[in-house]
């Protein structure tokens, strides 16, 4: 009997697209965290221990923030943060990583 079936969620009709988007956010978040770990290794190799520890700390903090705030397919879309804010929140650490990575590449050039 159809009357015995549980009622379907009313609005969530874009499940697959939302799932793909949520996975894209998770991949990007994971990439940023791995980038900071790579930077930590490179800075420690160059003997810049304080900056390396800072990079590791930022990486761990970003991982925690990613778990807490990045979109998931389970939450209703209107409860997700604004995509522009999330994009900024991902792009700023990436830009910082780019500057620090450039610094890592400059150190050996200056030491020659």
């Amino acid at each position: 009997m159809t009357g015995d079936r549980p009622t379907a969620e009313p609005v969530e009709v874009y499940g697959a697209a939302r799932e793909r988007t949520a996975l894209a956010w998770q991949r990007t978040g994971l990439g940023v965290v791995i980038g900071y770990f790579l930077l930590f290794v490179a800075l420690v190799r160059h003997g810049v221990l304080a900056l390396g520890a800072l990079a590791a700390g930022v990486g761990v903090a970003l991982a925690v923030l990613a778990v807490a705030f990045l979109p998931t397919a389970r939450r209703p879309r209107h409860e997700e943060p604004n995509p522009w804010i999330l994009l900024l929140a991902v792009a700023v650490p990436v830009l910082t990583l780019a500057v620090l990575g450039a610094l890592v590449a400059v150190i050996p050039l200056l030491n020659r």
Binding site: T21, R27, P81, V94, L97, A98, A105, L109
Partner: protein
């Protein structure tokens, strides 16, 4: 030319009350076309989402197009991340094995270009979302040509370097 507004109206007629005309552009969404799925939870037409340059124009597109735009921006960010990670890895390997300064310069450029791609992702998301809301054709992905050109130049440069280092 691909016009996302037309496709969106075919796929999701529930969200569209009619075609977007020139008069609709740069005008707030009227109440009868108010989105049912706002990021700030409001459903009465008082859309307070930022940036205003995006959400204050046109009408709410099919959510699938917005989600696809989001994924495209994230793909650009990941491309930038890959360049940055490659740059960091390259300079680390060069330091470990005593390779010449040329590779550090390539690594430096990769990191800087990766950062620039993250900025391009933001700008591109904004312009595409505006076009989707106004029913305009999507802007051309200009950064793609630059990205391919620079990756090819870097690949040729490193290949030439590798050839010059081969034992004779």
């Amino acid at each position: 030319m691909y016009a996302p507004g037309h496709a969106a109206r075919n796929l999701a007629p529930r969200l569209y009350a009619g075609p977007v005309t020139d008069g609709d552009r740069d005008r707030p969404a009227p109440a009868d076309r108010a989105p049912v799925d706002r990021a700030d939870g409001s459903a009465n037409g008082a859309d307070r989402r930022r940036p205003r340059s995006v959400y204050a124009v046109g009408s709410e597109p099919d959510p699938r197009f917005s989600l696809a735009n989001e994924r495209t921006a994230l793909a650009w960010v990941r491309t930038g991340l890959a360049l940055i990670a490659g740059g960091i890895a390259l300079t680390s390997v060069a330091a470990l094995t005593g390779l010449p300064a040329f590779l550090d310069v390539v690594a430096l450029l990769a990191c800087l270009f990766g950062g620039a791609i993250a900025v391009i992702a933001l700008v591109s998301w904004r312009s595409v979302e505006r076009a989707l809301r106004r029913g305009d054709p999507l802007p051309a992905p200009r950064a793609l040509g630059w990205l391919v050109s620079l990756v090819v130049i870097a690949a040729v440069g490193v290949a030439v370097y590798a050839l010059t280092q081969m034992p004779r």
